[in-house]
């Protein structure tokens, strides 16, 4: 079993659902983003999803886009990022860190080198939302040889046979996008939800060979409760960033507690 899947399985014995919180590396500064990650792990989050910024994040909504652009006012370096979050991963060994970015900065860094360096820093999962599985053979091979997990996404509009294929190839965990659209609140709101969330998750579960994480649009305690028993991880992205922007770490922690404390 993959390191991530084993970790999730063990943690799930004590918790009805695990938490994954998203942080943009370098926002508003590198040090502040690292402090924020440390604080979240101190507060007991199970996962941090660290987003390495890209200039053109097409799957993200306005909150995360603005944070990425702000972060990119500094020169950011993938290798340094990996070293820094690697240190956090060692300091807070009850939590795990996964790295998310878009393809281009990782492609420039080298996908094989990325898998190798991530493994060295105990970053056990990678998320690249604009790399489709059809183009990913060498990336998958690199991840396999360094024993880390490429995390794939499925969506409510993924065709059934494709969903079965993606779920079947899932490793670490499967990232289930809860709705159409980009991350967080945006002017582009989906008009209809065709499949109710419960049915969608049940459908995925039939095929998934790995645990399931659910993200996109989670903002309230009821959203988290709805996932219990149906998924393993609730992923908190833009809502946490919005809270952080409003009231710093304290506001972020308050939201976290509201969402994840019974």
């Amino acid at each position: 079993m993959s390191q991530l899947a084993a970790f999730i399985k063990e943690k799930r014995q004590q918790k009805p659902i695990l938490s994954m919180t998203h942080v943009v590396y370098g926002y508003p500064t590198v040090q502040e983003s690292l402090d924020w990650m440390a604080r979240l792990m101190k507060e007991g989050v199970d996962f941090i999803e660290v987003q390495f910024p890209f200039s053109d994040p097409v799957a993200d909504g306005p909150s995360i886009v603005a944070a990425c652009h702000k972060a990119l006012e500094q020169d950011l370096d993938v290798d340094t990022c990996l070293s820094q979050i690697g240190k956090l991963a060692r300091d807070y060994s009850d939590s795990r860190i996964v790295l998310m970015s878009y393809l281009n900065p990782m492609y420039r860094f080298g996908l094989d080198k990325l898998a190798k360096r991530a493994a060295e820093e105990n970053i056990q999962g990678l998320i690249l939302p604009d790399l489709p599985i059809e183009q990913a053979a060498s990336y998958q091979a690199a991840c396999a040889s360094h024993k880390i997990d490429p995390i794939w996404l499925v969506t409510p509009v993924t065709p059934k046979d494709r969903l079965a294929m993606l779920a079947g190839q899932s490793s670490g965990f499967l990232y289930c996008v809860a709705r159409s659209g980009v991350t967080g609140h945006s002017s582009h709101e989906e008009k209809s939800q065709k499949t109710p969330l419960d049915d969608y998750l049940a459908q995925i579960k039939q095929h998934a060979s790995a645990p399931m994480g659910v993200g996109f649009g989670l903002r309230e305690r009821s959203h988290i409760e709805q996932l219990m028993g149906k998924a393993d991880i609730a992923i908190l992205g833009s809502a946490l960033l919005d809270a952080y922007n409003q009231g710093g770490q304290e506001a972020g922690v308050e939201l976290l507690q509201t969402l994840f404390t019974d």
Partner: protein
């Protein structure tokens, strides 16, 4: 040009968020069916003719030819399309495809505004809802086009993220499409983006080169020796070049925007002088202007339609294999070429197209008198009136603007109704 599974050499492909997979497959299938359906092609040609005025002429430029004393110079008059640019060829094609797929809304990105206008025109004619994303900076430079889009019933959304130009507009259009893919079609304006967009846009634009094949033989008994086109996204270049791809004796020259200089941020040269690097972004692999860390960079050109950070994967591939020779023209050379065409031939070229002119004018004197070159005049220059007036330092223009503003009936400074509201 046929792709290998969406790839042209190492460029192209489909690198889109999973949420867009189904919509992309739908377009892939719809286009594959439509391009093999004689009824669709007949309707396409009918609309090209009846709505856009095709075929556009191939115009011999006697005065320019004499001026340079070299190659015989011809212009392919895409400026005479309805809407004043070649953009019309593609929007008519994709508009008909949207109807075929039964979608009700189109989304488009636009740089200079030419594609935005063309999309708004077709949307109005076909009864489609229309949302145009345009960089806030481009809106400033090309407000007259924005005005017409709104009058045509389109919603124009200013994009204020990043550099606020075409690339940011494209990102935002992709985000809209991610939420609205079930009822909306992303009507991309150039031969970029995920498969099958590069192939599809090139297919619809190839009417340009198809006509030149017939017209050149009819007018001077052979194919041209050389073709010139400006390269922003690459759609007018694909349109002129691709039908001649197998005619090895026909040379092709693509002209990029040299802008103000060769420092990063001052130009939009992606395909020569090692200024661009391979990358994967905005749904496809191509040569991008980017830094070492893979962050896309700002670009510049006097022509808003050319300052795109990437380029058609088809052009990138053909440039790499040497089939197309790439060059560039600087902002000041472009203004000179524009002015020369005005004075010598009585034609007002778009600043985008003036890059192709500038590239050709550099070569023309050194080419044999018996050789014939065709320059794609992809658009007309009426839209550039303010920028050209500024560039040629017209003395009367500021006074005209002052007087005009003084006599403007309402509160002309209220810009709030220009931003994202439906006209």
């Amino acid at each position: 040009m046929k792709s290998e599974n969406g790839f042209y050499g190492q460029y192209g492909g489909s690198y889109i968020p999973e949420i867009l997979y189904s919509s992309q497959q739908q377009i892939l299938n719809a286009f594959e069916e439509a391009k093999n359906d004689p009824a669709f092609l007949a309707e396409l040609h009918k609309q090209w003719q009846q709505f856009s005025g095709r075929p556009t002429p191939l115009t011999y430029c006697e005065n320019l030819t004499e001026h340079f004393g070299g190659a015989q110079i011809y212009l392919k008059r895409e400026d005479l399309n309805h809407s004043g640019a070649h953009k019309m060829n593609n929007v008519i094609g994709q508009g008909l495809l949207v109807k075929r797929m039964g979608k009700k809304r189109v989304i488009a990105e636009t740089g200079a505004g030419q594609h935005g206008i063309a999309t708004a025109l077709v949307a109005a004619r076909l009864g489609l809802e229309c949302t145009i994303y345009m960089g806030a900076k481009d809106i400033e430079r090309q407000y007259p086009n924005v005005f017409w889009m709104k009058q045509l019933g389109a919603t124009v959304v200013p994009v204020t993220t990043g550099a606020q130009t075409l690339r940011d507009a494209l990102d935002e259009a992709l985000r809209d499409w991610s939420s609205s893919h079930e009822e909306s079609h992303y009507l991309i304006g150039t031969s970029c983006g995920c498969a099958p967009f590069p192939e599809m846009v090139a297919f619809f634009q190839s009417v340009i080169g198809d006509e030149v094949r017939e017209q050149s033989v009819a007018q001077f008994g052979q194919f041209p020796d050389r073709l010139y086109a400006c390269v922003g996204g690459g759609s007018n270049a694909c349109g002129l070049f691709l039908p001649f791809l197998d005619d090895k004796e026909v040379e092709m020259v693509g002209v990029e925007a040299g802008g103000k200089g060769l420092e990063l941020g001052e130009h939009s040269i992606r395909l020569s002088h090692d200024l661009g690097q391979p990358g994967i972004a905005q749904g496809f692999a191509t040569m991008f202007l980017q830094d070492k860390a893979g962050q896309l960079q700002e670009t510049h050109s006097i022509a808003a339609g050319l300052d795109y950070v990437g380029v058609s994967p088809i052009i990138a591939h053909l440039a790499e294999t040497g089939r197309i020779k790439m060059t560039y023209a600087m902002d000041d050379e472009v203004i000179n070429a524009c002015t020369l065409l005005l004075k010598k031939e009585g034609i007002i070229p778009a600043l985008e197209s003036s890059h192709a002119l500038a590239g050709a004018f550099k070569d023309a004197p050194n080419l044999p008198k018996a050789s014939r070159i065709v320059i794609n005049l992809s658009g007309r220059g009426d839209k550039d009136i303010f920028n050209v007036a500024k560039a040629v330092e017209d003395e009367t223009f500021p006074q005209f603007l002052t007087d005009y503003l003084a006599s403007y009936p309402t509160t002309a400074t209220d810009k709030s109704n220009n931003t994202g509201e439906k006209a």
